[in-house]
Amino acid sequence: MRKITLSQAVNEALAEEMRRDPTVFIIGEDVAEAGTPFKVLSGLVEEFGTQRVVDTPIAEPGFMGIAVGAAMTGTRPVVDLMFGDFLFLVMDQLCNQAAKTHYMSGGKLNVPLVLRTNMGATRRSAAQHSQSLHALVAHVPGLKIAMPSSAYEAKGLMKTAIRDNNPVVIFEDKLMYNDKAGVPEEEYLIPFGQANVLQEGVDITLIGTSSMVQVCQAAAEVLAKEGISAEVIDPRTIVPLDEETLLKSAKKTSRVIIVDEGHQSYGVTGEIASRINEKAFYHLDAPVLRLGAMDVPVPFSPALEDITVPTPERVADQARRLVRGELIHAA
């Protein structure tokens, strides 16, 4: 199978969906000729024109609001939010308007829009361009949240998101744009709410989102050499969440670590850990552990930034301790 970058995969997904459905359009800052700072959208304006690849002023709430209204009246906007950190600017339009319109109208109005944005630290971009804010929007009923972990995932999830009749927020890890993966030439979709078991194992389950899936896989490799068999699972979408697959694995291995790049407190790791605790408690042989980003604004200095996010070494270390039955928080 050919290998393409995550960035190319997103570009292909958008192009295919825009060819398929004339109501799909892209709106955001410097999405047309510039193709975004990450060059993810390069070439699209040449094919689809400025009517469907719409450059906006630097006015996130404004173009977000326009996208909501456009979605309510018969189009399928893909909003490009240059950095995930700018989510804080569009909260009213995303959470008060887009997320609630279908419910508040008793099911009469739909808001089929995609908000494409990014996440991920260690790009030396400091506290306002490095955040991973997916948990923030996952808290709001009415939004779906997809977190692709590879080029393959990014393409399949993006195509599903565009066809979904709800507001979907897709978080791409900006450090993965150049990561290549096998992506078939032929069309495929990845359904929401179906976790991907990347690797089966019996001793411990490592649940990772987005780039943390790679981290979990790297940890699993290290553990395998020590005779510890780790199962690696990517939930793919955190809303809807494939609870069944996660619980099944937790019951099988009896030990779980959840790894996510959002801040550890009040985050995705806590939510998944809590569900496992509630529904698989009597199958657990060890406490469910969370590994999120440190609860600090992302620092600029490489010396500091690198220690704020989970690494394969830390995941493997924690996994080892759980499997050995070490006393973790047992005092």
């Binding site: 002023p57 709430p61 404004g62 326009i66 909501v68 018969g74 189009t75 279908h102 008793g106 109005l109």
Partner: protein, 327 residues
């Protein structure tokens, strides 16, 4: 009262009168429901501003869109909604426009092009502009009217979307209902400079009109809608009007921000329904007796709808998590 255009016939004028009377009657009933503790939550009365909603919506087609505000019953009625579904929604009943999930501040009636009221002041400005974006992108000649109050001119979103609407010549009309008060504060205290000037700064053609004169509002809107359809939008209207009630139904004690004398003056001398009624009679379009009979019909219609809504069933509890996500 401004001269009516020749294109209007008797039925058009009677329809404007009927719609204004329907709004007033709807609000009187809604107020009674609130006062008698039969209506959950609270509501914001449109009484006094009827000529704005009716003058504008009578210039629109059913397929044209509007976005509405927390003070939205008038827009909803003017755009063609039925009393029964509206009262059911106000009372949280299953047969309401939103199956009881929206209530007074979120009534949406997409069948008549009403994209919904909005409980965030200024919250619908992006939606209205996006609706106009759809029309332009899909090559439809729909026009969208964005209703908002003078208070919403303080929201930043307005400037962002007016900028884009002007850049992209979108078919949207921003209709600022200036009733003189931003909640419990006089507009002069919250708005520096000129309201029209805000739109003009983006190169948007802006007009001020007497919002108590339904014919003037209607004539201006017809012109602007027509130009919007030709791609000359967006436009901005400032409609000078007045709300008879407080900011919300519970805002009774309001002499600290406006005098009873002022309220009396608007009600007695500038009431849009009384003025239009006199004009209709003077022009020989309708007699007092005909209009009285029309009013009686509307009142009977409203009380039947209220009675129906009071008896109607609440949504089943199984609906609570229905419609969080679309299929």
């Amino acid at each position: 009262m401004s001269a009516a255009k020749k294109t209007h016939n008797t039925e058009d004028f009677l329809q404007m009168y009927r719609q204004m009377a329907r709004i007033r009657t709807f609000e009187d009933n809604a107020n009674q429901l609130y006062l008698s503790a039969k209506m959950p939550g609270l509501t914001h009365m449109y009484s006094g501003e009827e000529a704005v909603a009716v003058g504008i919506c009578e210039a629109l087609r059913m397929t044209d869109k509007i976005t509405s505000t927390h003070r939205g019953h008038g827009h909803c009625v003017a755009k063609g909604a039925d009393f029964k579904e509206m009262f059911c929604e106000l009372l949280g009943k299953e047969e309401g426009y939103c199956r009881g999930k929206g209530g007074s501040m979120h009534i949406a009636d997409q069948s008549n092009g009403n994209l919904g009221a909005n409980a965030i002041v200024g919250g619908s400005m992006g939606i209205a502009t996006g609706s106009a974006f759809t029309a332009k992108m899909l090559g439809k000649d729909d026009v969208t009217v964005c209703f908002f109050g003078d208070g919403a001119t303080a929201q930043g979103l307005m400037y962002e979307v007016m900028n884009m609407a002007a850049l992209w010549s979108l078919p949207v009309i921003y209709a600022c209902e200036n009733n003189g008060y931003s909640e419990y504060t006089r507009t002069e205290e919250i708005a520096a400079g000129s309201i029209l000037g805000r739109a003009q700064a983006f190169g948007i053609e802006a007009h001020q009109v007497d919002g108590q004169d339904v014919l003037a509002v209607n004539a201006l809107t017809e012109k602007l809608v027509d130009r919007c359809r030709k791609g000359e939008g967006p436009f901005f209207m400032e409609l000078m009007t007045y709300r008879y009630h407080g900011h919300h139904v519970g805002d009774i004690n309001r002499e600290y921000y406006r005098s009873k004398q002022e309220e009396r003056d608007w009600k007695e001398n500038r009431d849009p329904i009384i003025r239009f009624r006199s004009w209709l009679v003077a022009e020989g379009i309708a007699t007092e007796a005909e209009l009285d009979s029309l009013n009686a019909d509307i009142r009977a219609d409203a009380s039947a709808a209220v009675e129906y809504a009071l008896q109607a069933k609440y949504p089943d509890v199984s609906e609570v998590d229905m419609h969080v996500y679309a299929a």
